[in-house]
Amino acid sequence: MIKLDRVTKYFRTKTGKKYILKDVSMVLPSDKNIGILGRNGTGKSTIMRMLGQIEFPNRGKITSDKSFSWPLGLSGGFVGNMTGRANVKFVCRLYGKSKKEIDEIINYVKDFSELNDYFDMPIKTYSSGMKSRLSFGLSLSFDFDYLLIDETLSVGDANFRKKSKMALMKKIENCHILLVSHDMGTLRDICDVGIVVNNGKIHYFDDINRAIDEYASINK
């Protein structure tokens, strides 16, 4: 269960406060995969970052007894002058993994991301597609209650996209997902319910198709 209690979030801009959420209270069910829809700049990623507890509401509270992954986005969260392997090790250590577990995770990520030689080269030599492959593979090796995914499914070549979607489908048998995406097909396939973010408000729909219809009507 994710509980939003009178949450207000805004950014100060030169023309005044720009509201992402304005006094929003709601409860999201915990056994569903949730899709987040909204136009660019409405604050989908900010909401995801708030759930991942790396961004905080200006007022109100977001509470949950579930564990969330770090937000998987295009930016990666890696250190440029360290190798892919060293970055994977670093994240494993952050989560307190033992030496043996770290070795297993490294093998898995190396295999999954198909980076081959690049796995032992500094991240700054990676393309953004390669970064998100590494980041995605890494996140699959941890057991979170919720994976926070921000558009990353749409990167990589067709082959890798297929593979990561399959891996994700297998993963969500045991965990749930919060997905920001503009790809309606992916949302329909993966998510059960949806929220649409628009003008400082959130609308919750217990059927992803209705959320998609609502989003389509906003876009008109």
Binding site: I54, V79, N81, M82, L94, F142
Partner: protein
Amino acid sequence: MISKRSSFKIFLAVQHALFLRELSMRFSSGRMGMFWTFFEPFFQIFIFVLIKIALFGSSENSFDFAVFLALNFTAFNMFKNIVIKSTASFKANKALFLYKQVKPIDTIIARTMVEVFITSIIILIFLFLGFYFNFDIHVKDLSMVSLGFLWLIIFAFAFALVVAVVNAFIDSIGKLLGFLMTGLMFSSAVFYSMNRLPIEVQNWLMYNPVANFMEMIHSYYFESLDDKLVSYNYIFLWTIISLYIGLWLYIKLEKRIISI
């Protein structure tokens, strides 16, 4: 399901990860980086011994001037590096705040620990050279010298925290720090002992907390020096007040620092 870890366990895991990462970054940035880290103190000592011989002729000191310099530069460089490296650490580690268990202050603690670790290695090198070349490295009161170093680490951390938080919002502070450190090096009894200076100058210079630390450390190292100029209350106040201001500012601004 990720099992819930206690916050202390999480802190230790984060420190472990950050420490190893900082260390590998320090030594992977080219061979020269590693070389300078360890060569810098020797270079400083060499220069100042030369200057002293040129100005005053060879020694009439009651202690070995090279050992005196080694001790002071080790302590001063540690202070300087903790402050300078920590100041940039929020921005340098921005990407890591993506992981919610990494708090900005963790990066300062880790950088401080790395500096302490490097300082320990430098001390070991000096001790080895001291034994090997038969310098007089006899210590008057080892426990007080150690206390001086420990206290200096805490003060450096507190001071670094204040500067780092301010620097996160006001850019130019970091640039001023270079000047400040140069000024501190000349006014902190690093390459001279305070009792050699005129009384009026002493009175002024002892307002500098770092000078008090330097006097404390070298007066407990050498038999012929004493700590009568050091005001322990004064450096205690500096430490407590910096720590208080640093933590207060940090707690107020932590959330904003995470999303800079």
